[in-house]
């Protein structure tokens, strides 16, 4: 399409024709993953309006409704509870929608925290260099030798020991965000440090230094915008892992309490009924978790390839 021949297209049309969206429209995997993710996220975010029941409304629960099977499974089923109910008579579909929201919230906040710490450390280490750099990167190296889930587990355990029980249950969500975020910062820090080292030698940084800007001003408003790209791609790929971390911790029983169930908590609760034949209580939250993480991973893979010009 030549600029001169056709009338100047609007901003939307130009965006639609950009390389980035072109590769998106022509990747069926990315399209399907995005649609699935959109559906899951919408169901979670708007769970207050979309969910058929309120799983936290104790007045609406009736033990007579407990362990209803999903609608395609047996005659006892009830269309009011499409995916069946758990031991308390809570609607499973609504529980999953509310639980997905908590899982997403913890995952996004944890990655946000890890990004903040990682970018700060990476910028400072890369820009300052010298002893500060070696000390910070040495810390990152030591932490990278351990699996993230182990670090999150130990951090969570120590906080659990320090805080009083009642208070702890109230702030557990933030404790999880802290534990998972702390376990995942080194990767971001290393990436940002690498790009900062390259940017530091560029002329615009030199110019900024010559006109007398402070180091922090140069780091935040000049270098940061130029190193943000790669680290955001890594953040996408890490979001899936952070959601899995949260689910794993909650499954192990050191995560969110049953009053505030995430997908991992729902799976743990349902696990107790696996042997008595009520498989749906654990399997449906499990499938939701797997679909959520799989679509995030597929989108992250596509994003990485689409933003890497060498692969075109």
């Amino acid at each position: 399409m030549s600029e001169a021949a056709s009338p100047r297209p609007g901003a939307l049309a130009r965006a639609w024709d950009s390389d980035f969206l072109y590769s998106f429209r022509h990747s069926p995997v990315a399209l399907i993953a995005a649609l699935v993710l959109l559906a899951v996220v919408a169901g979670a975010v708007f769970s207050h309006w979309l969910a058929p029941h309120d799983p936290f409304d104790l007045a609406s629960l009736s033990l007579l409704d407990s362990f209803k099977p999903p609608v395609f499974w047996g005659a006892d089923a009830d269309w009011a509870y499409p995916l069946g109910t758990d031991d308390q008579g809570r609607d499973l579909l609504s529980g999953i929608m509310y639980g997905t929201r908590i899982s997403l919230l913890v995952g996004v906040l944890a990655i946000g925290f890890a990004l903040t710490v990682g970018i700060t450390v990476g910028l400072v280490a890369g820009y300052m260099g010298g002893a500060v750099d070696s000390l910070l990167m040495r810390m990152a190296d030591v932490q990278l030798t351990f699996p993230a889930i182990l670090i999150a587990l130990l951090v969570d355990g120590v906080v659990r020991a320090v805080l009083p029980r009642a208070f702890h249950d109230k702030v557990e969500l933030y404790v999880l965000v802290f534990a998972i975020g702390i376990a995942r910062w080194p990767q971001f820090a290393r990436t940002v440090r690498g790009s900062t080292l390259v940017e530091r030698g560029r002329e615009y940084v030199m110019a900024a230094r010559v006109i007398g800007l402070t180091s922090s001003k140069i780091m935040v408003s000049h270098i940061l915008p130029n190193v943000l790209g790669p680290v955001l791609v890594i953040a996408t790929l890490n979001l899936g892992l952070a959601i899995l971390d949260e689910a794993t911790l909650s499954f192990l029983g050191v995560g969110l309490p049953p009053t505030q169930p995430s997908l991992g908590t729902l799976i743990r609760i349902g696990n107790d009924f696996l042997f008595s034949g009520e498989w749906w209580v654990t399997i449906f939250p499990g499938i939701t978790l797997a679909v959520l993480v799989l679509s995030i991973n597929l989108l992250g893979d596509w994003l990485r390839d689409a933003l890497n010009p060498r692969l075109r």
Binding site: T145, F146, A161, G286
Partner: protein
């Protein structure tokens, strides 16, 4: 070579000292061992005596030195929860975890390498595509969900295999093994598959991409030109050259296996160290937690050291860019 070993050993010491410091700080500042050990009734004199006995009236760094010294001798204190020496608890459960991790690693290698070779050679075959989809699902499913699905299918619906515990074990002084009894072996199947699944898909993808790389290289083309059979080329030439990165990744992943065994052991109620740790965290049993941290640090430092030495022995070129090879999860 000798200088290299020494320098690696010297680098490992600060890491261990730092981890030791963290685990000591946990020990010292979290919880109050004196009030836990004294119980309800005590006099001031008893309290002072106990504080003196435990060495808690000494300066912080003296206590830290004592702690490290005791750790070096395998003394980790007494579990708050079970009121038994932590070292005994860990010794009891170590064999279960080691047997599980080893079986999982062997399983991952025995299944992952052939699958990787096959998908590397028959890139577009139906079976190869099925393997690739399977590996994607394997990476996206969390470990505990794989375990639950296996239990549902093989223990609840089909009833073929036990779903929890270690079965009958045979004792050899300090070591207990489940390898020698039928029920022990049957109990091992599901947990080992669960734990090995991630490693298996990782190895499969690695072998596949290495195979594809090597099959494009000049010496494989020459081997074809010489008229060697496909079999000799694929296994004699190509596979051999893909094994260097595979060995190192597997080595580094043994640490990851120990980490993820926490989850597997909880799903299957496997009486190993991971289950001990999870139970201890639930009730804030600090001595067990700090001992676990120290031990796992020792294991990881040891594994990294061995892998570094392997690099040195196998291929000096690889030493330069180790990080790029390390799969992170």
């Amino acid at each position: 070579m000798f200088a290299f070993i020494i320098s690696r050993l010297l680098q490992a010491i600060p890491v261990l000292l730092v981890v030791g410091f963290i685990s000591y700080a946990m020990f010292a500042f979290v919880g109050d061992p004196v009030s836990i050990m004294l119980g309800q009734d005590f006099t001031e004199a008893q309290r002072v005596q106990l504080v003196h006995q435990l060495g808690l009236d000494q300066p912080f760094f003296v206590q830290y030195a004592h702690y490290m010294w005791a750790t070096l001798h395998g003394e980790f204190g007494i579990s708050y929860r079970l009121a038994r020496p932590v070292s005994d608890l860990i010794l009891e459960r170590l064999p279960a975890t080691i047997e599980l991790a080893l079986t999982a690693a062997v399983l991952a290698l025995l299944i992952g390498v052939p699958m990787g070779v096959y998908t590397g050679i028959r890139r577009n075959g139906v079976l190869a595509r099925a393997f690739m989809i399977f590996s994607l699902v394997g990476v996206s499913l969390p470990t505990f969900l794989i375990g639950i699905l296996l239990i549902l299918v093989f223990a609840v619906v089909l009833g073929w295999l036990p779903s929890f515990g270690r079965g009958d074990v045979v004792h050899f002084s300090h070591w207990s093994t489940g390898f020698l009894t039928i029920s022990g072996l049957r109990s091992l199947v599901l947990p080992a598959i669960t734990l090995g699944m991630f490693q298996m898909t990782l190895i499969m993808r690695l072998v596949r991409s290495e195979m594809m790389e090597v099959l494009r290289s000049d010496y494989v083309k020459f081997a074809r030109a010489r008229g060697l059979s496909e079999r000799v080329i694929n296994f004699g030439h190509a596979l051999k050259n893909t094994l260097v990165p595979v060995i190192t990744i597997v080595g580094l992943q043994i640490g990851g296996l120990l980490g993820f065994s926490i989850v597997t052991e909880t799903v299957f109620q496997w009486p190993g160290m991971g289950l001990l740790l999870v139970q201890s965290i639930g009730v804030a049993d600090i001595p067990v937690m700090s001992a676990y941290l120290m031990l796992i640090a020792l294991v990881f430092v040891g594994i990294n050291l061995i892998v570094d030495l392997l690099y040195y022995a196998v291929d000096p070129r690889l030493r330069v860019d180790r990080r790029a090879l390390t799969g992170a999860r």
